[in-house]
Amino acid sequence: MPDFLLSALLAGIAVALVAGPLGAFAVWRRMAYFGDTLAHSALLGVTFGLLLDINLNLAIALGCLLLALILVGLQNNRFLATDTLLGILSHSTLALGLICVSVFSDNRIDLMAYLFGDILSVSTTDVISIWGISVAVIGALIWLWRPLLAITMHEELAQVEGVPVARVRTALMLLMALVIAIAMKVVGVLLITALLIIPAAASRRLTHTPEQMAIVSSLLGVVAVLAGLTASYWWDSPAGPAIVLSATLLFSLTLLKKQHA
């Protein structure tokens, strides 16, 4: 196996593993649009990274974290509905990111790579940082598992029972921002939400507990990464979209299963 393919596999698997449980929360809490908004803002992070001449991965992560905090603050505002607010931010940051990247980049970066991912070009350093963040986020999710589930069921009930709802909710958003930052390399800003949502949705019919759903979702994500990279290797299709389509195929297969729960 060529080295670049091995790196791609390792990076893809790390992202798929953490996208499983996080994607499950995105589905349960209807955060798909939120994920899109964070992903689009990642492009803006690229611009700032170039402007300030700092590590691009770090800049993307910081950009996502910052926007997640802004979103947490704005959601308390009842002036506009959350989806309207997200719609404004999501597309404005994408547009601004596109303009900034083309104006400031001096052809130093490949825009398509950021939009649709460039998993075949990940370096060893990338693989290490992706695994590091992936393992850290999975650890945090395990630690916060019960409070996260409690606020997903009923925020006020959780609050009365002593769960620090606002802090747990913010933590979930920050974790999602981190995962989006690492997933960007794999599937690109336009397809990140798919990697979160589709494996989680596919696992719903196959499982009976939240934990099973999170784990099966991770496994389905890994299968999608393997299948997508295989397709990319043999047929030279773009890797990110091939991974997403593989996940969609898995989801379609689960629709054949009779629902009994």
């Binding site: 589905v27 349960w28 809490r29 209807r30 019960r146 589930l149 409690a150 997903t152 069921m153 009923h154 006020e156 009930l157 959780a158 609050q159 009365v160 029972e161 002593g162 989680a200 949705a201 719903r204 499982t207 009976h208 507990t209 939240p210 099973q212 759903m213 729960a261």
Partner: protein
């Protein structure tokens, strides 16, 4: 030892420039059931949320007994169909139980439902599961927001009987919100009628043989022994205008009763 669990004096809440709760007083005591009634938009939920500490009142004071454990049964549980969760897991989400699980399951009659997915429960079953989760905290105060909503009349009667039994067994205080202006739990100690402010409060009258009551609610409750539901009647000493402000009736045009022993200063 204090003689109350929660004491609220002159609570006022204003949202978007509109006063949704004015000068509300409320005292909750161990072993006592207080029922809150009032029309939609009367501020019942606001008062409950203030008691639970979910919102902060803009005016007035709220004194809680130290380390007060509250069991809360929310009005509605929105269940995401994509979240697979059994009743047992749902109960465990409330944290480490302080009360004996087997005993609570038996008391609320949900022992047979424990392995079922939450989404497959009926309205009445969901209410019992929510009540069980509140009870697992071994609460000193139970706050029940419209517990009989979506439950048929027989089920309501059974649920009220259960709440009464819980109060008698555990000697906890109960704050109950009722969506119905006329039907309240018969064993309620105090009924508070809220319409932005506390209109009046008093004991429910036990009108079990009233023909109008039987005609309305049938044999199901009428023959229950002892009755679990009563009709609450009260005498208003004032009217509300379209904005909910109090219009004082002309002197002598109304009869004050003992349950209306307070004045309004509108």
């Amino acid at each position: 030892m204090r003689d109350f669990l929660i004491k609220a004096r002159g609570l006022g809440v204003t949202r978007n420039g509109r006063q949704i709760l004015q000068r509300a007083d409320l005292t909750l005591q161990a072993g006592k059931i207080v029922t809150l009634i009032g029309p939609n938009g009367a501020g019942k939920t606001t008062l409950v949320r203030a008691v639970l500490g979910l919102i902060k009142a803009d005016e007035g004071e709220l004194i809680k007994a130290p380390d007060l454990r509250i069991g809360y049964m929310p009005q509605k549980l929105h269940l995401e169909p994509s979240l697979p969760l059994t009743v047992a897991r749902f109960l465990a989400l409330g944290g480490k139980p302080r009360a004996d699980l087997g005993e609570i399951l038996e008391l609320t009659g949900i022992d047979k439902l424990i392995k079922m997915p939450m989404q497959s429960l009926s309205g009445g079953e969901t209410q019992r599961v929510l009540l069980a989760r509140a009870l697992l905290r071994d609460p000193q105060l139970l706050v029940l927001d419209e517990p009989v909503q979506g439950v048929d009349v027989t089920g309501q009667s059974a649920l009220y009987a259960l709440i009464n039994e819980i109060r008698n067994r555990r000697q906890c205080g109960v704050l109950l919100v009722s969506h119905d202006l006329h039907l309240v739990m018969a064993t309620t100690d105090t009924v508070i009628c809220l319409n932005q402010h506390v209109c009046c409060e008093g004991h429910p009258e036990q009108v079990t043989n009233d023909p109008a009551y039987l005609a309305l609610f049938g044999e199901a409750i009428g023959t229950a022994n002892p009755p679990q539901v009563a009709i609450y009647t009260h005498h208003h000493d004032h009217q509300h205008d379209a904005h909910g402000n109090v219009i004082k009736a002309k002197p002598g045009a109304h009869v004050h009763t003992s349950s209306c022993g307070h004045d309004h200063h509108a």
